[in-house]
Symmetry: C2
Subunit: 483 residues, 2 copies
Amino acid sequence: MNINDKEFVKEVTSQAVDFSQWYLDIVLKTEMMDYAPIKGCMAIRPYGYAIWENIQQLLDRRIKETGHKNAYFPLFIPESLLEKEAEHVEGFAPEVALVTRGGNEELAEKLVVRPTSEAIICEMYARWIQSWRDLPLLINQWCNVVRWEKNTRPFLRTSEFLWQEGHTVHATEEEAQEETLKMLGVYQDLLESELAIPVIPGQKTEKEKFAGALRTYTIEALMADGKALQAGTSHNLGQHFAKVFEIKFQDKDDELKYAWTTSWGVSTRLIGALIMVHGDDRGLKLPPRVAPIQVVIVPIIGKKSKDEVLRRANEVAAGLRSINIRVELDDREGYSPGWKFNQWEMKGVPLRLEIGPRDLENKGVTAVRRDTGEKSFLLDQDLSAQLPLLLQNIQDSLFEHALKFREQKTYRPQDYGDFKEALDEKKGFMLAHWCGDARCEEEIKAGTKATIRCIPFDSDPKDKGPCLFCQKEGRPVYFARSY
Amino acid sequence: MNINDKEFVKEVTSQAVDFSQWYLDIVLKTEMMDYAPIKGCMAIRPYGYAIWENIQQLLDRRIKETGHKNAYFPLFIPESLLEKEAEHVEGFAPEVALVTRGGNEELAEKLVVRPTSEAIICEMYARWIQSWRDLPLLINQWCNVVRWEKNTRPFLRTSEFLWQEGHTVHATEEEAQEETLKMLGVYQDLLESELAIPVIPGQKTEKEKFAGALRTYTIEALMADGKALQAGTSHNLGQHFAKVFEIKFQDKDDELKYAWTTSWGVSTRLIGALIMVHGDDRGLKLPPRVAPIQVVIVPIIGKKSKDEVLRRANEVAAGLRSINIRVELDDREGYSPGWKFNQWEMKGVPLRLEIGPRDLENKGVTAVRRDTGEKSFLLDQDLSAQLPLLLQNIQDSLFEHALKFREQKTYRPQDYGDFKEALDEKKGFMLAHWCGDARCEEEIKAGTKATIRCIPFDSDPKDKGPCLFCQKEGRPVYFARSY
């Protein structure tokens, strides 16, 4: 490492010194975002937005394959509509932005900038649904939402963020429940197959469920600092919204019935998860499936070889593009190869190809993995067969690495004392028994800042034990401090 | 036509009776949109939104191919930022929605819901640009914007609408001008190649240019009622925004210089254009490239043939899907084929395939074009070769038809009296000479409600003549009444 390189890395705080500052350094230095002059709002710069576009594309395909169609509903919700569902308004009213003037006039009714769209969408659905023939109604929208948050953090919690929100209507309770779990499964698959982030799927407690839901399901991921992140949620809304918005349908038996609704969403928060699950002190490590640039080519130019090296670098780039690999050729002048290596490492590009005079001689390229630092020499003739495999291997390794980390960081505390100590010392998920009483849940939160992340689907029904707080018999749940 | 069919068509007002009502009938009956309970806002339903998604995909590809990257900037603009550019604020302030409360508190500074994003984007660009190495900066965003309009109309003019807005920064005036015209060209290509809408590209007059621009360019399309529609604009913003937002860069000669900026956009208004250019009394006519459903298959089920017909219909659908044709198999029970024909015609599906017992016998399908009503019989073995050609033929015909219509509706008035009469009687574009004086332009607008749509690029420099209003020598410009 030359001096130049050290300077470069010095700009980023080490994770061990201050994880939170490391995160802020990374999102700024990699040009994923910048702070905007509006409280809690950010500009998502091209490098960050390209990750979002990749996530969108991978999820949108899954949303459509499961029979949903996209639509778009208004940004504004009349205050009276938001107020219809009692728990819903209680949950969201404190953090809404309100439009009170339009076209130089005071508005007769204030408009809420959507914090989520159940209210306006259910109002429309009530008009569109008359008969069982209109069901199920399976609609999704990609949009921006606004929640006036007190404490904000780029990507993780911002006053405005981008997301998709699915809103579906069903004839029966069973179908609504099936849909709710199906979409949670879609999210789990997205996170694990594409973002290389292992998640724990499960149900939220009554206290932690969505404002207005009957039941909320979640996928929970573990960040590198041992804190949990709620990465996606899917809500069975029961008939709560159908009843207040009058979503009724004539069933096959000719009876007029209230419908059952669901909603589910993931947001730009996933970008935060990608950073915090995979990143290290040198910067981002992006899984190939969502990386804006999967392969960067850095030509190593000697005194005589410039033209030949650049010609070969361009050839390799074109070859990779033709097999749909997202490739960038960094032929900028005035930057040393070492400086470029560091920059692209910080940006988390999964694979770097170096092409220099010696590589030309040997009819190949030198490949360096971002995740392991491993170097290998690939013959030109093998590139188009080897690179897709290598990228898949990096994708798989990132997942395995994150899974192993989570397993190491999942602890089964002996008792409440052990739980508190482990939270401070070991951090991570605490898999402990809980009796089901919200008072124990609240006491634990008040005493430790840890919340129940979820009641996992996959727990052994025979796994019973004393509640962490009250010692009554309980089932295992995941506790953690979280974002 | 059976009684059922007549009933169906009766629901839509005839264009000849009331074009405006025809339009509203179509957008509602085809389920492209529905009115929302917020002044001037609409919900874009899946059928309308799918058209927007197709337009987005076709345009986004072009935007990226010309070197631009997508990003996302905040929805909110502090009032003081919007006020920086004098003409800009004068143009937009009267129609903004204002957020005055957030999180239950009165905001210290009111926030404008973006009507367009020059102000917030230039504020960010000023931080990102230091050197000539940072230029050109070529960024686009897809988002929603809000303009508190007095008179609204679905898709054409709504309080909230969806669009893309490109914002670029350049080192020189020449590059900014080149970019401005390049993106107008991209829009023209999108409209003509994909939406089958011929447009007239040209420059806006000083009076009609964008608030804050140095020069505005436009593509103007002619609707079936003879009114013009501004379908896309591209602005050379000169150094107007760079100067007030302090976008400066160190040039190669080491001097600190103000940059040059451009912006350009098209919106969901294009869906309105599609409807009004191609539609007829039976409903929409969608060009295949943007049609959510390109081919609909209607099985004609006899008494004995049900299983066989449905099996074949499914086979044909699968075959077309495998060659990337967007196909819908309408196997709903309880609807007559005639009713289905009418519904899909109203929805503008370019091609209908009928499969009945006789078609099975003859080893083929009956194809009916939406644009001409023409029927043909296609052998099964020719389907995958013939259908793409047939769809291309429909696409081309729609364009040719629209171009011919526009040519017929472009009139060269003899004098102001003839101009006024032609506007009322013939409608359409009036290609007439104008001296360049804004007073003549205003007098003509006051007297006829016609505006100068553009000063066309392609006019013959030798084509000089007396100004329509004052008789001084002028050049030919396009006048029309417009949306």
